[in-house]
């Protein structure tokens, strides 16, 4: 009985989406079909579902959404540009690529193309090759009804980073961008993703990014989430690594009503390095959830994962990190830690580090801490003339700064430190 009811809920939700009848949905039918079929089997998760235990999704599922490409739009791009950093800028508006505002180079080292400019063959060879992109309802929804996307193909050492700027605006509007990032053998690429939203209410941003990190390549993916109110975000990143490659994903959440990030890395080759870093600082009633999977399928690899957060007021933070070391993956060094500071009695942090090891010759560690600011340190700083507020800010900055310091682009590091109020 209850499963029929939830199934109806998904059906109803999807039927509203399907009503939008976008022309782009005629493209890539076989790929979309896999998403549509997955949707038939999937329910909206309840908190009984372990993967969604701490994040309620009914705030998303209860609305009927429309798509809106917003052709005539005024975006303050300067507000997200990184001072002193030259990039290839790509602007995506409500899930649709805005070619006029974007710089899409076609060079020896890098090629940026909208999906419509890609051959079906090209897309098929990458799209949804990571099966994980249809295993939960939101990524299945994206696979079935993605609007537009961009394929970023690094073929060599890229001369400058790509800056993706996602703009959102509207009421009960949905944005479903899909992006594919490819690094060929020996390629090097950095991607920065920024978000901007204006006049949003009950907006649903649901993105899926797929990363293909080729042999001996190096890819860094930096995400800065700094949302105004009125937007719910589900962001799914799935990466596969070939041998001798390095992939690092950095996630800095400054502000956002409700955010769920899924970052999953599958290491399919030997001698790889994978790094996952994140910082979050929810306040008010914000809800910030980071789920990660670090899956070691092959031997002789190393992974480092470090997420840090401060949770204030009545806000909630969630961290769930799973590390798998598969049977054949010997000689793995996998480290994971999650550290939190609770700034108020009403703040909640749910931290769940998980480790599943099936190999016997590995070095793994994981740990989670949740504590409070050091009162003695605050008194010490106050006794030198700092107000309680700046003493607190300085300590928070010092705490979160550790993962901001990991940023490898100096201009970006500077900019993010500044966003966090650090120097």
């Amino acid at each position: 009985m209850s499963s029929t009811l939830t199934q109806n809920k998904v059906e109803e939700f999807v039927s509203h989406i399907a009503e939008n009848k976008l022309a782009v949905w005629n493209e890539l039918p076989s790929i979309r079909k896999s998403g549509l079929e997955a949707l038939e089997e999937l329910d909206f998760p309840t908190t009984k579902n372990e993967y969604w235990k701490y994040s309620r999704t009914n705030r998303i599922s209860k609305h009927a959404y429309k798509f809106n490409p917003l052709t005539d739009v005024n975006i303050d791009l300067d507000s997200v540009r990184i001072k002193g950093l030259d990039t290839y800028e790509v602007v995506i508006v409500n899930g649709f690529l805005n070619k006029e505002l974007s710089n899409l180079p076609s060079k020896d080292c890098i090629e940026l193309k909208s999906f419509e400019d890609c051959s079906t063959e090209e897309l098929r060879s990458y799209f949804s090759q990571n099966l994980d992109t249809i295993s939960n309802i939101f990524s299945a929804l994206n696979t079935a009804y993605f609007t537009d996307g961009i394929l970023i193909h690094a073929k060599g050492k890229c001369d400058k980073p790509v800056h993706l700027i996602h703009y959102s605006e509207g009421t009960e509007t949905i944005s479903q961008p899909r992006n594919i990032f490819i690094a060929d053998k020996h390629a090097e690429l950095s991607i920065i993703k920024s978000s901007l939203n204006k006049n949003t209410s009950n907006f649903f941003y649901n993105s899926v990014n797929e990363f293909f990190i080729g042999e001996n390549s190096h890819m860094n993916y930096y995400v800065i989430q700094n949302y105004e109110e009125g937007i719910n975000v589900v962001s799914t990143n799935v990466a596969t690594q070939e041998k001798n490659s390095t992939f690092s994903a950095f996630n800095y959440t400054l502000k956002g009503d409700w955010i769920r990030n899924n970052t999953n890395v599958f290491v399919k080759g030997e001698n790889c390095e994978s790094n996952l870093y994140g910082a979050y600082q929810p306040t008010g009633k914000e809800h910030i959830d980071n789920h990660t999977i670090m899956d070691h399928l092959m031997p002789n690899c190393e992974s480092n994962e470090h997420y840090k957060g401060t949770v204030g007021d009545k806000a909630t933070g969630v961290f769930n990190g799973k590390v798998f070391v598969r049977k054949d993956a010997q000689k793995i060094n996998a480290f994971q830690s999650n550290n939190n500071i609770l700034l108020s009695d009403d703040a909640t942090m749910n931290s769940k580090p998980e480790l599943e090891i099936y190999a016997d010759d590995v070095k793994c560690s994981h740990g989670s801490t949740s504590g409070q600011l050091d009162e003695e340190a605050i008194f010490y700083l106050q006794s030198r003339g700092l107000s309680k507020e700046s003493a607190t800010a300085l300590l928070i900055g010092a705490f979160l700064g550790e993962v901001v310091e990991k940023i490898e682009i100096p201009e970006l590091k500077e900019a993010v430190l500044e966003m966090y109020g650090m120097e």
């Binding site: 003695e376 006794s383 010092a398 120097e423």
Partner: protein, 250 residues
């Protein structure tokens, strides 16, 4: 400069200070000595505004203001400086960043402009030389991984940077070898002017060979039970505290 009258303070219901009376004038150095648990560190914490302590009676006048009405940071900006017995390590906060923030917030509270980068650096260079504090330590996180002596020198360096009216040195000599003691004392003596004052809290007379006090007070059971000049410190060094305890308890 500071006038402490009948000061009573307790922590978690336990009375620690039981009526302190002390008058310190500009240009003076006062030493407060006493056996363990007599309330020496409590007095310094209370003067710095540590909210763990409850003031149950008495008053503190600091340059015409009712000191007890002010928060810790306000007291610091008014010119009270406490050199901690156990300086706190603060990972992630650089010494320089911390000091610049402290100076600028103090300036801001007085309606002054922030310190210019050049002026700040010049000041750092001059004042760190005073206590022979290595430049590499300045760039490091506050007290993190510092040796005992480096921590104490860092306290005096901060004091030099903040130029307080009243410095309270809480057992600054503890954990110092003789060379470090000389350096720290030299710093304190150099900073001494006719307009500022120092309260030196110590267990041992040794420090007072280098920072020579105008007055010496003996704190016992939360009260000043004996006051004198530097000769009193020598007497205490020689005879211990028992004779004073006997006098009081008699």
């Amino acid at each position: 400069m500071i006038s402490i009258k009948n000061l009573h303070a307790s922590i978690e219901g336990k009375s620690i200070l039981n009526g302190i009376n002390l008058e310190v004038k500009a240009g003076e150095v006062h030493a407060i000595m006493g056996p363990n648990g007599s309330g020496k560190s409590t007095l310094s914490s209370v003067l710095a505004g540590n909210e763990d302590y409850e003031i149950t009676d008495g008053s503190v006048d600091f340059m015409g203001e009712d000191l007890l009405e002010f928060s810790t940071e306000e007291r610091a900006r008014m010119g009270i400086f406490l050199a901690f017995q156990y300086p706190i390590e603060i990972p992630g906060v650089s010494n320089m960043n911390f000091l610049r923030t402290a100076i600028n917030e103090t300036r801001e509270s007085k309606g002054e402009e922030p310190i210019a980068a050049k002026e700040f650096l010049a000041m750092v260079k001059e004042k760190s030389a005073l206590v022979e504090l290595d430049n590499s330590l300045l760039k490091r996180y506050v007290n993190e991984g510092f040796s005992g002596g480096e921590k104490k020198r860092n306290e005096i360096f901060q004091m030099a940077m903040l130029e307080p009216k009243l410095a309270i040195l809480d057992e600054t000599d503890s954990g110092l070898d003789i060379d470090a003691l000389k350096i720290v004392s030299h710093g304190v003596n150099t900073l001494k002017t006719k307009d500022n004052a120092t309260i030196v809290i110590t267990h041992y007379q040794r420090l007072l060979d280098y920072i020579v006090p105008d007055f010496v007070h003996v704190l016992y059971k939360g009260k000043i039970v004996k006051s004198g000049t530097k000769e009193l410190a020598l007497e205490l060094e020689e005879k211990g505290y028992d004779w004073i305890k006997e006098e009081i308890n008699a």
